[in-house]
Amino acid sequence: MNIYRKRKIIDVTMRAAAFLCAIFTLVPLISIFSYVLSRGATSLNLSFFTHLPRPVGEPGGGMSNAIGGTLILIGLSCLWAVPMGILGGVYMAEFGNNRLGSMVRFSVDVLNGIPSIVIGIFAYTLFVLPMKSFSAISGGFALGVIMIPTVMRTTEEMLRMVPHTLREAALALGISQARTIVGIVLKTALPGIVTGILLAIARIAGETAPLLFTAFGNRFWHQSLNQPIAALPLQIFVYAISPFDDWHRQAWAGAFVLISIVSLISLISRFVIRPRYRFSQSR
């Protein structure tokens, strides 16, 4: 009886501790959201989305250039990182059960852990130095490098979840391996892969460090992709460390917009991208 009571007490305490820890993880998220909402939403107005930044002292103005810049940077990085990540993932899942495969898998995991500022320096030496200019291209390259591990590993995982019997069924119909992969395997895994891409986008949308010496930031609309380009996180950074109250308010508004973009992408990845048919073996 004594042992039973002791076990009961331990059970209740541990369960309570686990519950509290689980709840506690929500605290930072909720407080960030509510704080940014309360500070940012009030400074938000239409001109924030449509106007360029004004000089110090002049009230009003917006961050249209930074919002546009962030979207362009995301586009640039997706342009090369998505195909590369998907093709790499296909290799890993379909042909990668060998030494090369496990080497690549390990390297990609290491790449995923490299601090983003280091990737920024890498992009700086590779693009900015030879081109002698900060540029949107170098920023897109740096963000793409950050995207690749996520896209590639999710693609691989999702393809591996497609039952082997489906590949065999397709091959047995006289469908070539290439068409089996594209028409059956990738198609089956598509919702998962899209989710991976969206999560990778959500991550790079908020990256600041790798843009410091690649995209660099720009107070105006960029003229070409060879030139410095504005980005929301950079603009927030510059405004936040400035001594002007008006800029601080704009920084909060920018933070609010950025957080909304990222949350929206996460939400879409959860709810909107549903498979037309459930991908699960019935019974």
Partner: protein, 252 residues
């Protein structure tokens, strides 16, 4: 009656393990040939050698000859994809493509090989679903997922899918082992009708099934073919003691 498939000295390996030893067998055209034998005797490996699906498994190799109407399907220069189109396969567990509709499941073999004319596809889909005795049950929901069907319907969908690419031979790898008796009866009836147009090889665990639907039966044991004969003779007067022991249920 011509020999549709003639297998000579066929051996199959998984790495260093030999799964089939010098199999020799002639399969008659438009007949049902059943392959029986205890688990692990190489039945499935054998039929997977006939449509070159064995080599899909890593490190799996084959020696010997398999002649399809005189042509060796293992001679160099033969495209396994062509062979698989001529020799269709239905698997043990129903495996419709989960993200495709019923229609697209049936049309997959054609669509993914470049046939996209809607009228042609419509005609083929209706024809093979009718042959598979599934048309009446699904004609009003061709856009629904293949996974929405019952197990037996799914298996008939897989048969229709195999028929759509116009094979000459159809291999069945224990097609009823995941099905209930009523669905099993429907599949058996279907196989009985299909043999008018196709040569059929069926692996089965169920000896009554072999007795009911096949014209000839081959008994496999430990990677060897012990006996091949007319089904009737095989089940009434087997030549080999081991066959007799197996079909009377003394082992296996």
């Amino acid at each position: 009656m011509e020999d549709e498939v003639r297998v000579s000295d066929l051996s199959a390996y998984f790495g260093d393990t030999q799964a089939l030893k010098n199999i020799n067998i002639a399969i008659k055209e438009k007949m049902v040939t059943a392959i029986i034998g205890p688990s692990g005797c190489g039945k499935s490996t054998f039929i997977r050698c006939i449509n070159r699906m064995h080599e899909v498994v890593p490190n799996a190799t084959v020696t010997g000859k398999v002649l399809l109407r005189g042509q060796d399907i293992y001679s160099p220069g033969v495209d396994p994809i062509e062979i698989r189109r001529k020799i269709g396969m239905v698997f043990q567990k129903p495996n419709p493509f989960p993200v495709l509709s019923i229609y697209d499941n049936v049309a997959a073999g054609l669509k993914l090989n470049g046939i996209r004319k809607r009228d042609d596809l419509d005609a083929v889909v209706e024809r093979v679903l009718t042959m598979a005795a599934l048309w009446d049950e699904v004609k009003d929901k061709l856009d629904a997922s293949g996974m929405s069907l019952s197990g037996g319907q799914q298996q008939r969908l897989c048969i229709a899918r195999a028929l759509a690419v116009k094979p000459e031979v159809i291999l069945f790898d224990e097609p009823c082992s995941a099905l209930d008796p009523i669905s099993t009866a429907k599949i058996e009836e279907l196989i009985f009708r299909l043999k008018q147009d196709y040569t059929i090889i069926i692996v089965t665990h169920n000896m009554q099934q072999a007795a009911r639907i096949s014209d000839s039966t081959a008994f496999f044991l430990l990677g060897e073919m012990i006996e091949l004969g007319k089904t009737q003779d095989m089940f009434t007067a087997p030549h080999d003691k081991r066959t007799e022991a197996y079909i009377t249920g003394r082992f296996g």
